[in-house]
Symmetry: C2
Subunit: 372 residues, 2 copies
């Protein structure tokens, strides 16, 4: 078996840890259900019955309406047939990667979750990095770039491409005949990222594709949907790629999402935020430094001082102490060295889990640093 | 949007039909739950709680044990780490397609479900057809073929590769340094296909990969697992391809499968068989001809006489009459013409649905045939 070093492999290792190690790797919500969520889950057996009685298209439409409404995307093409429900956002990304022209050059935000770059590369596309600094300076890539991928908010930094910046990007893309691709998998967690991006993209007349995800919002044990939406202008063979990958998402999961989106609007968002912010504060309490103090997403980067161990060393030491986290080099898919001072931890975990993990990290860091 | 003509596209159209048309396209079980299955589904809320409490690896292992045991595969590599749980058998196939060497030539059974050939071709592999006649005559392909794909039982014909034939294939493959790939998605439905294929493959010393599926057995509305298993000899980077596609299947779905596999052993198999066989008999009752009278799977091919309309014409007429079925040309992925006399209908539907659809087909056929 070829050795693999992508982030998901480390997340799989953490998940399969049989020695009871703490798993703070993946961005999935690994939490006990809130009472409100428990009430919804209790109705799943009825959703099975409903899935036999009601037409699939009706169930799917209700889920799209509820989800896009709950995350502020009121101009999303709900009901047009241009939103495809996939098993996951990863599958949605792969479907898009397959539908892009085989000789396309794609600019991808850097750093960002390595899976996006990996899926595009595996399909044979050429990638060029676009840094967060370039994004903030509105220095958009020109030829030969055919498509520009922005993660909104970005993972792992939490950077939010503002409405003004998205307008600038969309106008640039129209002038240069480029496709704007937005991976909004973490959008549901952050109100500031919930301005109506579909309205912005359509106002500019852009050719766009977006990926949305329910998987980062709710502790539903992989019962989730990745949504792949595209503009009226889009000429890519997305439907054909979709039909190669799946027939349809589960109408039971779609009903679950309709209900959870309703709860999200009704206090669920605030309940989830409170836990994440409480968990983020723990990092400072143990003397560790948040790399992105303004980030609002459910993962956080910790920045390691230059005079101590780097993240590769610290990551290994933490594994030995039974705590799984992610070293950040793989996020820097075009320049792994530049990620060496960062560690990512997931905050969508019970408070005690985050507390114990951060304490372990602070201790491991201290033990590895020569006393001055 | 490029026009698409694969089978899944027709299945999607049937699923999205808002005029209440009858859907006999896909091989998924679209049935009301049996009382026993309802009892299991009623416990899903508890499976959510369990998924938080028990380690994932334990939940997954229990599902693998229960499923492989229920379908007679006692030598499957349960507990070795060489069984990967995917969202679907399609995703398992795509992961395998990605892991095969980019320049491989693959022999694929012909006819068979077009998605298998499509996924391999999309990943750039070269395909050659292997007919059912060649399989039955043990005329196995030699160089330059690197891998041989057999669907067991075959879809849509129901042909079962016997133990003796699989032994012959495995020995041939070992001599010729080829990988044996078995898509056993329909195996759970047919006792005759449940001889221990893992024992056969390992006894021959073969390099093998298998795909198993829970999605064709139970009416669980796409809450299913596709299983990708491989031999100790297999050197393909399957784990890497897996980690590009998903982190893990749902521990809730895995628990559901454990329970449904238990019911399958405890009378569920016979209950499902009885319905399918009753539905298959309907075809003859309306004067239509079963192409594969020995087939035991939950889909059936109807053979159209040569002096009447072909399946493309009949398919169109049936759509006009509100019945969705599949014309068989796309199954004949290397020679669509040879599928023109066949229509496939799904039998895993309520009896009344199959009865009405077959009646409509008989009438449509009569109306399209010039009176002699």
């Amino acid at each position: 078996m070829t050795e693999v070093v992508n982030l998901t492999t480390m997340e799989v290792d953490a998940l399969m840890d049989v020695d009871g190690g703490l798993n703070l790797t993946d961005g999935h919500a690994r939490l006990v259900l809130t009472p409100q969520q428990s009430d919804i889950v209790a109705h799943i057996p009825e959703m099975f019955v409903e899935a036999t009685r009601r037409p699939f298209s009706e169930i799917e439409l209700a889920a799209h309406k509820a989800f896009f409404g709950a995350v502020g995307q009121h101009s999303a093409p709900v009901g047009t047939g241009r939103i495809l429900s996939c098993y996951s956002s990863t599958l949605a990304t792969d479907i898009l990667a397959r539908a892009l022209p085989a000789d396309a050059t794609v600019a991808v935000l850097h750093p960002t979750f390595d899976n996006i770059a990996d899926l595009l590369k595996t399909r044979g596309l050429k990638l060029v990095p676009m840094s967060e600094e370039e994004l903030l300076a509105k220095e958009w890539p020109g030829a030969p770039v055919n498509a520009i991928v922005v993660t909104l908010p970005n993972n792992p930094t939490g950077l939010i491409t503002s409405q003004g910046h998205l307008e600038s990007l969309a106008e640039h893309a129209v002038r240069n005949n480029q496709i704007v691709i937005i991976d909004a998998s973490f959008r549901g967690q952050v109100r500031d990222a919930q301005y109506d991006t579909y309205a912005v993209l359509d106002a500019a007349g852009a050719d766009w594709v977006t990926i949305e995800d329910t998987g980062k919002l709710w502790p539903t044990h992989e019962l989730k949907i990745g949504l792949l939406a595209y503009s009226e202008r889009t000429k890519l063979p997305i439907e054909q790629a979709f039909s190669e990958s799946l027939l349809a998402a589960s109408p039971v999961v779609l009903q679950l999402i309709t209900e959870l989106a309703g709860d999200w609007v009704d206090g669920g968002y605030e309940r989830a935020r409170d836990l994440v912010e409480r968990n983020r504060a723990v990092i400072g309490e143990f003397g560790l430094k948040l790399a992105d103090p303004d980030s609002q997403i459910s993962v956080a980067r910790i920045e390691l001082p230059v005079n101590g161990p780097d993240s590769a060393v610290l990551h290994k030491e933490m594994l030995a102490r039974g705590v799984h986290v992610l070293p950040c080099s793989p996020f820097h898919w075009a320049d792994p060295e530049s990620g060496l001072r960062f560690i990512r931890i997931s905050l969508a975990r019970p408070f005690e889990t985050v507390q114990k993990a951060v304490q372990t990290m602070a201790e491991a860091y201290r033990d590895l640093t020569p006393s001055s």
